[in-house]
Symmetry: C2
Subunit: 207 residues, 2 copies
């Protein structure tokens, strides 16, 4: 009996640990604070040196929300506009343990691929290795017809600037980058046809 | 003699009035103030209703600087990043009197085409007519080779988000738009081959 109970507990624990591994539940974003918008713009710069200190969960939540969180819950509209409100931009979070998709509605990072996929975003720029996390901005070009497909890229740029400004307003460091292994990332992130990793952002505290 | 002096004064006055018409000299941008970055992101929304009240020169200066002004004079680097620091994005300002190019270095709007060119940016969306000004974001695709030409669009998106956030942080209204008469604007703004009007922003005070 004791053995069975032990096994049951072990199984329950494993399931819970597994679930925990699958999803990083974020605390509610704190939508106050940071420098003023003008001081933030004055501080905006591309920074390629990062403390390797892991991001605090609260900062990670605030960062993802700033990038492309829901700022009007009644209409599910976002901090970044999208052409024709297509909401075709998706944010992925990569750390040394896995790659996760940001679910703005449930305020969580959901595991997409376990493992260390840094090589796909480092792409020979070694400074990226020091960052505790990399955000990848994916845009779904297939929601637009040919005449408007470039909006997938301008919309991605808007999300990128939200990330740059969040960091500039919170003494954090980032740089928007185009370099990455797009084919490799598309496989690891399980992207569908038309979904393109457009830009990525190593993020960390100032060194 | 009196007549000659009068003529000389009149000529001098005309030259000065002409120069004034050619260039709108902006006051130095005030790089403090506005809401905090998080409150700014919470307020970010696309607004299509504008007070027709003309923009104050100080607000116009702050707005242009926020969009793509120089935030590090020592290196001439900008509030918005550009891929490989190509600085290929140019900001134009259109009001009912003319179309002007933003010169970040001299902090001035220099006349490019006199006259009312609103029709080119209204493009059948009549709400734009109410805005006292429209900013046009032009990107020079020719600075990139074919493999990186999409950066011209992501970079334009970053400038656009600076404009959206400046407005959200200062109780002003704007919306990023793709609709416009690109050929007509290219003529009026005297764009060169490879320069593309990517997005535009009607801007104004809240109605």
């Amino acid at each position: 009996m004791k053995k069975i109970l032990t096994l049951a507990f072990a199984a329950a624990f494993a399931v819970s640990a597994f679930a925990q591994d699958q999803t990083i539940k974020l605390p509610a974003p704190s939508v106050k604070g940071g420098l003023s918008i003008m001081e933030t713009l004055r501080n905006r710069q591309s920074i390629r040196e990062y403390s390797s200190k892991k991001l605090k969960l609260q900062d990670l939540s605030n960062l993802c929300w700033a990038a492309i969180g829901i700022n009007r819950p009644e209409s599910s509209k976002l901090t970044a506009p999208t052409a024709m409100n297509k909401q075709e931009v998706t944010l992925y979070y990569i750390d040394h343990k896995g790659a996760y998709i940001y679910n703005a509605k449930s305020n969580a990072l959901e595991l997409v691929s376990k493992g260390n996929h840094y090589d796909l975003v480092v792409a020979k720029q070694d400074f990226v290795k020091d960052a505790p996390a990399v955000l990848v901005i994916v845009s779904n070009t297939s929601v637009f017809d040919q005449t408007s497909s470039l909006y997938a890229y301008t919309d991605a740029g808007m999300v990128s600037q939200n990330i740059s400004l969040f960091c500039a307003g919170h003494k954090m460091a980032t740089v928007p980058r185009g370099m990455m292994d797009r084919d490799g990332l598309s496989r690891v992130l399980h992207l569908r046809s038309g979904e393109v990793p457009v830009l990525n952002h190593p993020v960390g505290y100032l060194k």
